[in-house]
């Protein structure tokens, strides 16, 4: 039996580079103006899996991603860097899922991949910054979780030892397997793409993507069946539709506001001695400084 690692990775809008055109006139987010990227901490998660793969020769790294059809890019990107295989969880019925519904769908997919030794996710995704999907998936799988992993120290068939990064320090913990780990951005960066893997897998596609292609891939795929990226729908996961999408999401967005500056009445001063002395005197007389 191989040592199976499932890595959870998400495609996210690049909220770190939000420009002027990122907001539409009506105050909603213009997702089209933001490039879709591999969630940064999920790359740290992938790297941790690839490190284990280097330490043992029986490791199989499987990527799971849930999102729209174009999220298949995450799977190709992972395979270029050394992952073995990937599944895209995609279905319109998943739309509007909050972290509870997302972790439900993801946990069903992970169960389909049993027996597994480890599930590795990023700490948080930069679109929502919630850091909830990892621990919630662990709960649904009934396995221990190790959050904020910074360094992998030891791993064998039955245990893992991890250094965690806490807000005011570190902790080294040992957990039995299977377990779920969420990886912190202070963990090692992901290795670059491997040129050979890039060549080998650049035509890897999901069925949905193949339908969009103008070129006929039938012959190529007959020869190289490994290029097929599998898609899983609600039916494949045997999921309860009530627990997915908007109906399965207890949190509702009531209101969204664009962040706008409120203009205050501001006193404008120069850097002259006179202005500064006046300011200091005023702060003293109003007891703002003592």
């Amino acid at each position: 039996m191989s040592f199976r690692i499932v890595v959870l990775a998400k495609q996210v809008p690049d909220t770190r580079n939000v420009g002027k055109d990122a907001m539409k006139a009506d105050g909603t987010v213009n997702r089209a103006a933001l490039p879709a990227i591999y969630n940064p901490e999920d790359l740290n998660a992938l790297e941790m899996a690839l490190q284990i793969k280097k330490m043992r020769n029986d490791v199989e790294v499987i990527i799971l991603t849930m999102g729209p059809p174009r999220a298949a890019e995450i799977i190709r990107e992972s395979i270029y860097r050394g992952a073995d295989k990937g599944y895209l969880i995609t279905d319109r019925k998943f739309a509007g899922s909050d972290t509870l519904a997302t972790s439900y769908a993801i946990s069903l997919a992970i169960k389909k991949l049993a027996p597994y030794h480890l599930v590795i996710s990023g700490r948080q995704a930069i679109d929502g910054d919630t850091a909830q999907v990892g621990p919630q998936a662990a709960e649904k799988l009934g396995i221990p979780q190790i959050t904020y992993a910074e360094e992998l120290l030891e791993v064998d068939e039955n245990h893992i030892v991890i250094k965690r990064r806490l807000e005011r320090g570190i902790e080294v913990v040992k957990s039995p397997l299977p377990a779920l780990i969420t990886v912190h951005s202070s963990a090692p960066d992901c290795r670059a793409r491997n040129a050979k893997l890039l060549m080998k897998y650049k035509h890897a596609r999901t069925v949905t993507e193949l339908q969009e292609e103008t070129r006929d891939y039938t012959e190529l795929y007959n020869k190289r069946p490994y290029l097929q990226i599998d898609e899983w729908t609600v039916a494949d996961l045997d999921a309860d539709v009530e627990m997915l999408g908007l109906s399965g999401s207890p949190t509702k967005v009531k209101k969204i506001e664009n962040v706008v500056l409120q203009q205050k009445d501001s006193v404008l001063l120069t850097d002259s001695d006179k202005d500064i002395e006046l300011l200091i005197k005023e702060l003293l007389s109003t007891h703002i400084i003592g």
Binding site: V18, L100, R168, G169, V173, K252, V253, V259, Q263
Partner: protein, 341 residues
């Protein structure tokens, strides 16, 4: 009606963490508004003086679980106790710190209870909601207000149908307020064997642990002199430390200043740093990006020192001094010394 529960974190020194006291203070106000009780959940080992630490914050009931295996915190036993307690008590609202512990625990609890959880709220309010489709009206929901999308939008989240309504809040976001020294409530000691799921709750072994006490405490400072990238160097930051020493404040910083290595990360203010609400905030060479403002725009008075009259920070400043930090800060020190008694 059911009550508000706050999960209390225990510090290395065995006291209740500031973030939890802040949540209790907020919880007290929400409880008054809803006319319900405030209950604290304390899980640890050898915690003393718990009543004198918590009752001044207006806690009505303390649930306490003690066992040597419960400190330091590990996920599974704490989650099992909280989940089983919540199943019994059915809280209306449950609050956790958005800390290493709270953000590890709260999602696990929410998943087990199949309820909603909103991370990193910056504000909590009570309000009503009418569902457009069904025209159903929900009274007295918890509005969980938080930045999203890298801080570019502010969202109000509600959980109409599931209970508890769960939220995490960062340290420093809510104000710590003692309601009365004399309040006294009830203490309920939990028999942990009834709350743990099994011995498997203790499978995780802590091999090593180094956790520092809170060091720099800009959160509690009444006056903050914050420096940004515009301060220009580590040496120029000394000017800010001088001013802070003279007028009795602490030095804070923007992320750009921290990234440039001018000061340590513990001083960072903003969305990914601490949130402060001092009497006076002096922003030196800070442009005022939304992520920075999120951590300081509640300051009572803001002074901006910036050589760019168009810097966004000036719009929220009560006083804007146009000029260079290295000229203005020494003048402030000089005239403070000259005019104060």
């Amino acid at each position: 009606m059911n009550n508000i529960f706050v999960y209390c974190e225990i510090t290395e020194e065995g006291t209740i963490a500031d973030v939890s006291l802040e949540l209790l203070s907020k919880g007290r106000k929400l409880a008054n508004e809803l006319n319900i009780k405030l209950e604290a959940v304390v899980i640890g080992s050898q915690i003393t003086d718990i009543e004198s630490q918590l009752f001044p914050y207006g806690v009505d009931v303390i649930h306490i679980a003690q066992d040597t295996r419960l400190f330091p915190y590990t996920t599974l036993p704490h989650a099992a106790i909280v989940v089983n307690l919540f199943k019994e008590e059915k809280p209306e609202i449950a609050l956790f710190g958005a800390t290493s512990i709270g953000r590890d625990l709260a999602p696990r609890v929410a998943s087990a209870l199949k309820c909603g959880l909103t991370a990193d709220c910056t504000s909590l309010e009570i309000g009503d909601h009418t569902e457009n489709k069904t025209q159903t009206t929900y009274k007295n929901l918890l509005y969980q207000i938080r930045p999203a999308f890298g801080g570019n939008i502010i969202a109000t989240i509600i959980n109409p149908d599931t209970r508890p309504q769960m939220a995490t809040v960062r340290e420093g976001v809510m104000k710590k307020e003692i309601t009365s020294k004399s309040t006294k409530g009830e203490v309920k000691v939990l028999d942990i064997e009834q709350y743990l799921s099994s011995d498997d709750d203790f499978v995780l072994e802590i091999i090593e642990r180094h956790v520092e006490q809170q060091k720099v405490n800009i959160k509690g400072a009444q006056i903050i002199i914050a420096g940004g990238y515009g301060v220009g160097s580590k040496e120029n930051f000394d000017l800010l430390f001088n001013l802070a020493e003279v007028i009795g404040g602490e030095v804070g910083a923007s992320r750009a200043a921290v990234d440039a290595g001018y000061v340590e990360h513990a001083r960072q203010i903003g969305q990914t740093g601490v949130t402060v609400r001092p009497k006076l905030y002096i922003a030196c060479g800070i442009s005022g990006a939304v992520q920075h403002r999120a951590g300081m725009d509640q300051s009572a008075k803001i002074i901006s020192i910036n050589n760019d009259p168009k810097a966004p920070i000036n719009k929220i400043a009560d006083y804007t001094i146009i000029g260079s930090v290295s000229d203005i800060v020494p003048k402030m020190i000089k005239y403070y010394k000259a005019n104060s008694k």
